[in-house]
Symmetry: C2
Subunit: 251 residues, 2 copies
């Protein structure tokens, strides 16, 4: 497109321009890890996780597949770099015992927001354990907030598990429904939701009374509302472990 091959209507470059052109051709931006990750994101958004192949990434860059392996150990490393770049610049504020709950919620909200930035990103996120040096600062900050808030150490340690598995799992479920919507003929989310609700409403009342009764609550609520509510459930549970008198949420 922007780099047409000679021979299909394009006149060959005049000889006196050979010198500058010679610079132009090799002056194509050199392949770097950053450019590879960037291209991988483009492919991921367009083709989804299953369509994210090294060949597609190479094609996106207009480069041979084998060229990628000079800068990257393999596909695993590409996925890891994508995962790490997604949370770059994601920093938590210094612990404030007065509203630690809101701080934790903000962390989860921001995490979800970033995961939703790219299609199928939750799939990639879940296959990585966040103990690479760049991601450890998040764990550290979260633990700081928990401890300053007065949570016992064991609870603080477990809280990270609950929060991160929930965050990944929730977004993953969201993207699975979105994928299902893509596969079906439903164009809009509303249409898809109506289809699902119809399926649940059509279930035999006597065998699934509660599902039928809650079909509205299960899917009519927006994902944001369900996410917020679930966050609140988790944080209420955590708060219940703060010893009375220890940094009470007075304010």
């Amino acid at each position: 497109m922007s780099d047409p091959a000679p021979g299909d209507g394009a006149v060959p470059p005049p000889p006196w321009e050979r010198s500058p052109r010679r610079r132009a051709s090799p002056a194509r931006v050199p392949l770097t890890r950053e450019r590879i990750v960037e291209a991988a994101y483009v492919v991921l958004d367009r083709e989804g996780y299953d369509g994210l192949s090294m060949r597609q990434v190479a094609a996106e860059l207009g480069v041979a597949v084998s060229g990628l392996y000079a800068h990257v150990a393999g596909k695993d490393e590409v996925l890891r770099l994508m995962y790490e770049r997604l949370f770059e610049g994601h920093e938590l504020p210094p612990p404030d015992p007065a509203n630690w709950q809101e701080q934790v919620k903000d962390f989860a909200r921001e995490g979800r927001r970033r995961l939703l930035l790219h299609r199928d990103m939750a799939k990639i996120s879940m296959t990585h354990v966040p103990f690479t040096p760049e991601l450890l600062v998040h764990v550290e900050s979260l633990l700081a907030i928990f401890r300053v808030a007065g949570l016992p150490d064991t609870v603080a340690a477990a809280a990270g598990d609950v929060l991160s598995t929930f965050m990944d799992g929730f977004v993953h479920e969201e993207s699975m429904w979105d994928e299902r919507r893509r596969d079906s003929k439903a164009e809009t989310w509303e249409e898809m939701r109506a289809t699902i609700k119809g399926y649940f409403d059509a279930l035999p009342h006597e065998r699934f009374p509660n599902i039928v009764a809650l079909s509205g609550k299960l899917f009519d609520e927006s994902n944001d509302a369900r996410f917020e509510l679930a966050l609140d459930i988790i944080l209420r549970g955590l708060a219940s472990y703060i010893p009375p008198g220890d940094a009470p949420p007075s304010r």
Copy 2:
């Protein structure tokens, strides 16, 4: 091996044994969905999720790959059947408001137990949304317990999300650590845990004071203890939504 081709030392079967032999050969158990799923489990346990291929399953059955497709739509269906069979017979007791929390915990414990029965099973579990008819009864039973306990409907709807994403996520993390252990030279879990703890202890104290301080709590605790604690966090959060006076956890 057990079925040597004629011509390399094996004498051909005498003609008078042809009749019984003819029965023996076709008397091989016929291919069924059940046998395919069973073989898939064997391959999964031996090779892990990445080694679970249709060809391996076919080889396990001593059958051509293409033969599988006469009984199964494809690999996706095999994974779905495996997932559904894992939870076969997993039934919840009738709702008892007096100890609904223990009922919910038992559900999660049994779910984790089954997921741990087969290597990488959590990976398979997470890619499925439990809305197939066979699995809907679980959702139904859980909702029943939540509602009878007095949880508001919106909370009951969200509670299922929190619980299932946590269950899958926690076991998935467990199996990821186990996979990492397998890859490393560490044989036992204790050895692996020591390695991890050593890594955390070696972190710079000034940058990661909380991680260093909690390195013991993060990994010395057994997975069971962490799972139980996390369950308790979630259930305390849920319980906080029961309106006062509505089926109080007296006893």
